[in-house]
Symmetry: D2
Subunit: 124 residues, 4 copies
Amino acid sequence: MTTMISDSTIQAIRDFTEERGWAQFHSPANLAKSISIEAAELLECYQWVPEAPAAETGRAQEELADVLTYCIMMADALEVDLDDIIMHKLAKTKRKYPVTAVRDNFEEYEARHLEARKLHGNAK
Amino acid sequence: MTTMISDSTIQAIRDFTEERGWAQFHSPANLAKSISIEAAELLECYQWVPEAPAAETGRAQEELADVLTYCIMMADALEVDLDDIIMHKLAKTKRKYPVTAVRDNFEEYEARHLEARKLHGNAK
Amino acid sequence: MTTMISDSTIQAIRDFTEERGWAQFHSPANLAKSISIEAAELLECYQWVPEAPAAETGRAQEELADVLTYCIMMADALEVDLDDIIMHKLAKTKRKYPVTAVRDNFEEYEARHLEARKLHGNAK
Amino acid sequence: MTTMISDSTIQAIRDFTEERGWAQFHSPANLAKSISIEAAELLECYQWVPEAPAAETGRAQEELADVLTYCIMMADALEVDLDDIIMHKLAKTKRKYPVTAVRDNFEEYEARHLEARKLHGNAK
């Protein structure tokens, strides 16, 4: 089971950026692009197969690490706290999908998810 | 400045999944898709403009939270430790871009980055 | 100015797939992943800079070609006609953004686009 | 079976942009972001399930149309011809995956694909 992302890890990422003078490139827009790019490299491990081949286990871990690293840089760029934004959004998602409504009921999940999509789709 | 993602936040995400019986959907492949989907929603805040409009600051934070939440679920699915994979990859990236080579030298960064791309491009 | 994608190009893509026996891998879900992966490789050309470096002009063209190729394969997998779906969606988008409302008025575009996002964001 | 994307469809997309005065927003970088964003909306149809639910067939078609529309705009922005770049890249891909090597041999495909990834992974 995974455990926390520690302050020392976050500091190591900041030091990495600082030492190279790369903060100038880390606008929110550039970091958003970077997160999408690394997310797609992670997805590539599962492009044709449901499970990443054994030879690529390490690759999936590295791509996931890349996504997380850019997310941490983005939190710094947006000046938000990771725990805060995760817990804030989780509270909202819980309200959207109450346990009593969606447990053992994929259709109800779909309906609530599709509801959002339809609104989105109509307007867009 | 952001601080750690705490054990209690990670546990809250696990409880959320468990209570809804959703672990069955959280294969690495499905989570990889989910990370890409949420990353693109974050990118959408910067689609036409370098800075997200003020009215959307909250949206960018929520989309970043979504990416992080799926990353934490993915670490559980892959049975890896977040701190471990981030620090392991950071060590590798440091070796690729030594401070003395790339500081104040975007061209050298580009060359090292392009090197990877060219190999990739040739073979692919 | 670009011109049409011709029937012979579409046939060449079909022959490529057929000769290799790869139709078995071309489920809509796998092709959707592939389109996202190639789209991100295209995005990578613009990760840190607004314009792709001259040395990478060729790369941007190749990545765009990859996205298009998978899109054509997807149209076959979904058994839809490219011209039909593009013109059908364009008609819908025209209704969403009438010329009189959005011309020289980025704020009105944003409002109509944000409207969709807000509905989406609330429900999701 | 799908047929060509006709000149009249491409012209309709150009007219749409022109009438709204939107060419100013269609830099290659912005269009690359847009392609990724729409690709992820297409992927969302297959987020948890291998097949899009029947209720969403129309949505998958519309999202595919969005990806294609931005690709056509991008070809204009890059001043390249769609048929040319697709056929040029296809020739390269054919050389990478000769029929005699990869037909009925997913492992050989994987090896050639992994080869690219490894080079990419090492350098990156």
